[in-house]
Every structure is written in structure tokens, then in C-alpha cells.
Amino acid sequence: MIRHLLSAGDLSLDDATLVLDTADEMARLTEGRAVKKLPTLRGRTVVNLFFEDSTRTRTSFELAAKRLSADVVNFSAKGSSLSKGESLKDTALTLEAMGADGVVVRHSASGAPYRLATSGWINACVVNAGDGTHEHPTQALLDAFTMRRHLGELAGKRIVIVGDVLHSRVARSNVLLLATLGAKVTLVAPPTLLPKGVDHWPCGVSYDLDDALAGADAVMMLRVQSERMSAAFFPSAREYSRRYGLDSRRQSLMPPEALVLHPGPMNRGMEITAEVADSARSVIVEQVTNGVYVRMAVLYLMLAGTNTTEEA
């Protein structure tokens, strides 16, 4: 297993499968059981270092760490030195002095977790919990976990990812992970919301959502922020949702068992209608539950053993 989880692209097929299988066991162990706490990470300290507000992701990591009996320290941008402009480096040095074993970091700057992991400021394992418009590997893992639970192995499965790919760390991580798992990914977005060089990514690209949905096993809708409108990425919310939103008509273009995913938080009525979000094939709520299992798996695999990587 890798020492830091910075990019979904760092996971080999074996690593990714190990995480998903481990998450499966975490789910079996904790689902419906009276006792929800495992002693595995007793005495280890996990720091949630959130330079950017995200109650959902932080809570998910916190729950995961606590279920494994780790000590959890939350550093959030609000009410701490982080909001007073303390540098990433100083914060890292503080965490090191506190004896953090794992640092879960969310940052608005792409690559900030790389700096933490590679600049020699700390010895702790670093888990990227979302960095700028770069990556969000545990989100991709929980998406894959959720899809795998319903669809079986993902090799050969057709997954459509729709929306603001340009600014989406979820899309980047999903494309990399799903490619490793052998799924066929198609990105659908207006050309303005696709990054330059996307044609070199391990996936297909389409501007036509109706077309892409036929035969899909799952569709993942990305959040589109209405601020993008003022920056002329698209003319209006109405035009966006007409061309790229998921409504019941579009859902019916997919096979009846196809899944609907959304990393949240949703803009109901913008990229997805309430009807679809609440439909029987929507696994959006389940994604949240699965997030805890996947993060337990990641924390277990990265923190339970020795810090060496010599053995598989």
C-alpha cells in the first residue's frame, strides 16, 4: 500500500482493489452491529486539517477514524490559527510536534497535500481530502465502492460523468481510478467546462448527454456552481440544465438498472431534478454512508501497520 494517498492515480489495480475489499469488510463489521468501534488504531492520532470548509467530508473522516479508535484532532479554518494566515508549513510543523500519525488535508490550493507529504515538514501519512481543482481520491473510492456494490466488478462497465469537469477534483480522481479498475468512462460537459488536454485522459469525451446515456451502467452528476455563469462558461442556468441536467426523460434513456450518483452537495433543479435525485436508482444517500467505510479502509491500510512499505 502506498504511504500517502494524494492522487487516485497513485493506486495500482491491486491497491485499489485492496481498499475496496477492505471497505467491504468494514461495512460488514459495522453494519447493523451494536458495537461500532474497532480497537485497531488505538493510540494513533489522526488530524483533520481543513483549510476549506467541508462539514460532510470532515465528519466522514472523523467518524471513520473514531470507529477505528484513533484519537482525532480537528483543525478547521474557522476558529483556529489557520484563519489568521498561519502558513501551511507552520501548521505542518505544529502537527508534527503534536505527534500526528495521519493528516487528512483539505485545501483550496491544488497540490497542497503534495507539499505536506514531500517537503519534509512532517513524517505523518497524508490523505488528500480534496485539493483545489485537482483531486479527491477518497471520493472516487467511495463512488467506485458504491457502484461495485450494485454493479459487481467495474471492469468493462460504462460510467458517464457529467458537468463541470474543469473545476472538479471529483471528476479527475474518478477518471483515474475508474480507468485503473477497467471501467469505460465518458465525460460529458459543455466544451468550456472541459480542461485543455482532456483528450489525453483515459476516457471518452462527449458534448451530447442523451447520446452518452444510452447503455450507461451509471451516471455521475457533478455539482455546477452558478458563479460559473458570470465567468461565461455557459449562458444561463436554464440553458445548462436543458443541455446537461439529468431529468426523468434522460434517466429513462439509460437501462432501468443504471445508477445515479452525485458527490453532493446537489443543486436540485440545476444539474439534477429532485425527481431523479430521489428515484429508486439514486444511490446518493448511500454514497454518504459508504464514504465512512472507504475512509475506514484507507485509514486502516495507511496507519495500522508499520510505516514501511517493503511488503505487500
Binding site: D21, T22, E25, L29, L38, P39, A304, T309, A312
Partner: protein, 199 residues
């Protein structure tokens, strides 16, 4: 007794294993005065098929279905930090749970006792059995904790440098127990992790 190609000595062959399990099945029933309230939990990997075989034998004798499951103890081990994190094995608790049952833990080799210590802790998180008993196919000695088995297939005195390898049809194609000579330090890591605990 024979030697396999690797130079390891076979201390139990397939028939020996079958006989030992049959005997243990009877012992368990006798001790429990029947099969009522029994739950068999195998400790992965090789404890699980052994638990299933025992359950079959007990059912055959008593004519009732014996719940059987698996209890992975990886996350309860006290040696987690001594090596890289390991993949988890399946834990499968039978639908009736373990509360107020007689839980029989089944493992292939009893060595330091630390696996069983972990299993007892894991069991605590699952429920409160009326009693817990322990079945092992092989007891090789060298206990580091005050733990003993209730039913043993065979006691095999060993040196610390030796290793005991249990082969089962379900995972290895045939049944047998091998005692590996200390000469070579080479070990299959997976085997080591699965069937014994290094002291």
C-alpha cells in the same frame, strides 16, 4: 510418515485430519450435551473450512443444523504495528448472533495464543456468549498467554525455529499437516501470516 518435495515432514496425513475432526466433533457434542445453542466460528483462513467440516459432522450426529461463521481477528491483533497493514478476511456472524450461545472458536494451529486473545476481544464486540470454547487442529506449544484449547486434533512438540503448515482441500487441494525443518529461513509470508503467529 513421508516427506514432501520441500523437505518438510508430514506429521498428519489426510486420513489423520479426518479422524481428528470426527473425534473433536464427538467431544464437542459430549461436552455440550448435544448441539443446542452451539455456534462455530472459524478463524480465517484455515479455521473457517475446519469449522464448516466440524459443523457438518456435528449435524450428522445430532441431526440439527449448527450455525457456523467466520471471525477475522486482524484488526484486534496486538502485532499490527510490527508489519505493514494486512488485507482483512471475511467476518460472517450467523444470523442468530452469539448472545447467550456456546461459541466454539476453531483455528488450525495454536501457537503463542495471541490470535485467540484477539478473537476473544473481537467476540466481546459482537455479543456476550454464555461460554467460549476453543478447537484447534494442531497445538504446537510455546504459549505466551494463559490460553489453552478445549479440543486438540494433535499436540506436536516443535522448536521455535520450525514452522507448522496446515494444508486443507478447500484452499490447498489436499489435507495434511507439515512440519518444516529449521534449516532454511525461507518461508512463504502468506502462509506464515495465515496459519501461525510469530512469537
Amino acid at each position: 510418515m513421508s516427506r514432501d518435495l520441500t523437505g518438510a515432514r508430514e506429521v498428519l496425513d489426510g486420513d489423520d485430519v479426518a479422524r481428528a475432526l470426527t473425534r473433536i466433533a464427538h467431544e464437542v457434542v459430549e461436552r455440550n450435551k448435544g448441539a443446542t445453542d452451539l455456534v462455530l466460528l472459524g478463524i480465517p483462513k484455515r479455521g473457517v473450512p475446519l469449522a464448516h467440516r466440524l459443523a457438518q459432522r456435528i449435524s450428522a450426529v445430532e441431526g440439527i443444523e449448527v450455525p457456523v461463521g467466520a471471525l477475522d481477528v486482524t484488526m484486534y491483533r496486538d502485532d499490527l504495528r510490527l508489519r505493514p497493514a494486512r488485507a482483512l478476511e471475511h467476518t460472517e456472524i450467523p444470523p442468530g448472533g452469539v448472545d447467550d450461545r456456546i461459541v466454539v472458536l476453531v483455528d488450525d494451529v495454536l501457537f503463542s495464543g495471541r490470535t485467540i486473545r484477539a478473537a476473544l476481544t473481537a467476540l466481546e464486540d459482537i455479543g456476550r456468549p454464555r461460554a467460549v470454547r476453543l478447537v484447534v487442529l494442531v497445538d504446537r506449544g510455546h504459549r505466551q498467554l494463559p490460553i489453552r484449547a478445549d479440543h486438540v486434533g494433535k499436540n506436536i512438540p516443535t522448536s521455535l525455529a520450525e514452522s507448522v503448515k496446515v494444508r486443507l482441500t478447500e484452499s490447498d487441494g489436499h489435507d495434511g499437516v507439515l512440519l518444516d525443518k529449521p534449516a532454511r529461513e525461507q518461508r512463504e509470508p502468506a502462509e506464515t501470516a495465515a496459519s501461525e503467529v510469530q512469537p
